[in-house]
């Protein structure tokens, strides 16, 4: 089994559109990345597009070599090792099936280039087909172009697991599927990962997927790792404003406020802060999660309601509007009546506090003790 460690990885992008005749334009795709992925762990990597998460995966796979820094596999320096010799299995966003080979041919390429015996190849393909489900044999006889998206994706995953890889690398493997299929495939992949217990890095831009797949989650932005941790870590004690805003749907409401001698004021409305939140006087910004509000309070600030989004399956609704000019969503009972204006109060125990300018976190509630 494999533990992966990245030390000070710097990668300057050199895809075609980044290259001019004299050099590169743009920032490095990875900027001094340090990261450890434990043996058997599934690590999700999320971030907005262009944040370097795919590049991170390629550096781990050896498809891109870092400009500086080290890639360590189980204590061995693999920085200069070719991808051919790393023994990784990778699933690509566009599946990357070999178009001229049938499903079986896609699976057998690994055995052909490694001079394995025909028997081993057949046995492994059969074992993989059994693992992938009853109708998988049908896909093996078809050219990739005749397969649907979901089928292609299954062949791609089978191609990845047929060789018994040291690590799985998944680059947004299910982003091209429709919503329903995505849901199902997500569960299937999770099941497979649990079955194998192989170190996995799962890149996605969908935080729901990241939460579902990953034991830990990495949030990236512009080539930097902003925070690594479990979902609760990221949600309740984000490292900065970016993480707080990126994690959570609907997003956190960030409202300018002023603290004065244990009192907090948003616009002209004032509240007493709980005594355990000790913050210096001055301007701050308050971050309140959708579930961190109390509705219809007497001392509340007025909120202009834009609309109410009801989710019957969750027996809940989101009241969407603006508090002090900031976009705000609030969880409410599903039968919450529509009205123009309502009065709301942040639950100060759950609120996050940020600097008035910049992204630094002043106070977070921390992970709640649920049990």
């Amino acid at each position: 089994m494999t533990q992966i460690e990245l030390r000070n990885i710097v990668k300057q992008y050199d895809s075609q559109d980044q290259v001019t005749l004299t050099g590169y334009k743009g920032e490095p795709a990875l900027n001094r990345i340090n990261l450890t992925i434990n043996d058997g762990e599934t690590l999700s990597v999320v971030g907005p597009s262009g944040c370097g998460k795919s590049t991170l995966l390629k550096v781990i796979a050896g498809l891109e070599y870092p400009n500086s820094g080290q890639v360590i596999y189980s204590g061995h320096d693999f920085t200069e090792i070719k991808p051919q010799d790393r023994g990784v299995g990778m699933v690509f966003q566009d599946y990357a099936l070999y178009p001229t080979r049938k499903g079986r041919g896609n699976l057998s390429y690994f055995f052909e280039v490694h001079q394995r015996t025909e028997e081993e190849e057949q046995a492994r393909i059969k074992a993989t087909a059994d693992l992938m489900g009853v109708d998988f044999d049908l896909l093996l006889g078809q050219i990739p172009d005749t397969l649907s998206g979901g089928q292609k994706q299954r062949v791609a995953i089978a191609r990845c697991i047929v060789r018994d890889p040291n690590i799985f690398l998944m680059d947004e493997p299910i982003v091209n599927l429709d919503a329903k299929l995505r849901e199902r495939t997500r569960i299937e992949i999770k099941k497979l990962l649990r079955q194998f217990g192989i170190t996995t890095i799962y890149v996605t831009h969908d935080q729901q997927e990241a939460i579902f797949m990953g034991d830990r989650i990495v949030v990236m932005r512009k080539g930097n790792i902003e925070q690594v941790g479990t979902f609760d870590d990221l949600y309740y004690s984000p490292a900065n404003l970016f993480v707080a805003q990126f994690i959570g749907t609907p997003p956190i409401a960030v409202i300018p406020a002023v603290i004065e001698n244990g009192q907090i004021a948003i616009e002209t409305t004032r509240w007493m802060l709980p005594p355990d939140i000790a913050l210096p006087n001055g301007a701050v910004r308050v971050g309140v999660r959708p579930e961190g509000w109390r509705l219809d309070t007497d001392d509340g600030i007025s909120m202009a309601v834009r609309h109410i989004e009801r989710i019957p399956t969750e027996r809940a609704a989101f009241v969407i509007g603006a508090v002090a000019g900031a976009h705000t969503s609030i969880v409410a009972p599903v039968d919450y009546p529509m009205r123009e204006v309502t009065r709301v109060t942040p639950d100060w125990e759950q609120a996050l506090f940020f600097e008035a300018e910049g992204e630094t976190v002043l106070h977070t509630p921390g992970v709640p003790d649920l049990f």
Partner: protein, 343 residues
């Protein structure tokens, strides 16, 4: 029919436009086929009629005499000495020269060009890739005629494009040279790298997603294995197009073989036919005696039934290999399209 939408094709205006388009395209087809038809018509025209100043669309009395004569001429079996001496060697000699040069060029040039394009498209990175791409296609921007004389000198003293090989510094001995002048290699070697085919291959390889090659790398394939097992099967249609273009250009090349070949039994068909034509049209000479002799032999040839009609027969013979090549390549082209799916 991508030109015309299927929806609403039955509307009167659409139908009228459709037929206008059909007629226009038919005109285009006729325009392209007419020279070919004229060649065939002239090849079955009697010699005297072929010489008449009014153009012959279809002869009054079609005859295969020219074909028979050309057969005798090309196999040098004619009883008539004047006809027999028109060509110094049987036609198959020239044909095999041409074939050898064309196939040899294909055999060397396709791997070289396609691997260069693959390397430039998928293996080279960064500014270096851009520079080498510009360098390679830059050869397209120099007209062939400009490099004619340096190339000629180069075939004399390969690899120096100089009138004579330079001396090794400090000695009186010249550098060793390879004289490829007057050999088929003088035609084959300059054709080894074909910038246009490079562009064709590069354009295709650029459309192959990087992820496929990366997937193959992760699977453990060496770079050459990936090319051979994954990329090459995908590229068959491009190879078909490239080989057809290359074959045609070598087969039809005239000026360069004319420059580099001296020995009469080494020339390709294009030069041989043009030599023959020259003997028809420029029966001029410096001495009256020679001129008279030439005129006499010309008359004899004409009486034997050979004039432009014979040249047309030779011209048709010259086109046949390109036609065959096209049919072969077309088959692969179609197969490739079926394999990859038309999207």
């Amino acid at each position: 029919m991508a030109l015309f939408p299927k929806v609403g094709r039955n509307q009167p205006r659409m139908r009228a436009a459709w037929w206008v388009l059909v007629i226009f395209l038919c005109g285009g087809v006729a325009l392209h086929l007419f020279p070919f038809f004229y060649m065939i018509a002239l090849s079955v025209t009697p010699a005297h009629e072929a010489l008449s100043p009014t153009p012959v669309i279809w002869p009054k009395e079609p005859t295969l005499a020219a074909w028979r004569l050309v057969f005798e001429l090309t196999t040098r079996t004619s009883m008539d000495t004047a006809v027999r001496d028109l060509m110094s060697f049987p036609f198959y000699v020239y044909l095999s020269n041409s074939l050898f040069m064309a196939l040899m060029t294909l055999l060397i040039s396709l791997p070289v060009t396609s691997l260069a394009a693959y390397a430039n498209s998928k293996l080279q990175r960064g500014p270096m890739a851009r520079w080498s791409f510009l360098f390679f296609i830059g050869t397209l921007m120099v007209p062939g005629v400009v490099t004619l004389i340096p190339s000629f000198l180069m075939t004399r003293n390969f690899p120096f494009p100089l009138p004579s090989a330079p001396l090794i510094p400090g000695t009186d001995d010249p550098f060793p040279i390879l004289r490829i002048w007057d050999t088929p290699w003088a035609v084959i070697i300059p054709g080894v790298f074909n910038a246009f085919n490079f562009l064709l291959f590069k354009g295709f390889f650029d459309t192959i997603p990087d992820s496929i090659i990366q997937a193959a790398r992760v699977d453990g394939g060496s770079e050459f294995n990936i090319f051979r097992r994954i990329v090459f099967p995908m590229s068959i249609p491009v190879y078909a197009v490239a080989s057809w273009l290359q074959f045609g250009s070598v087969w039809d090349s005239y000026l360069w073989p004319l420059v580099v070949f001296q020995t009469p039994d080494r020339i390709p068909t294009s030069v041989a036919i043009s030599n023959l034509m020259n003997r028809f049209i420029q029966a001029g000479s410096t001495s009256a005696q020679q001129a008279a002799a030439q005129t006499a032999s010309m008359r004899e040839i004409l009486e034997a039934g050979l004039s432009w009609n014979g040249l047309m027969v030779l011209g048709l013979l010259q086109t046949i290999p390109i036609f065959i090549m096209f049919i072969i390549c077309r088959e692969y082209l179609m197969r490739g399209i079926r394999l990859r799916g038309l999207k």
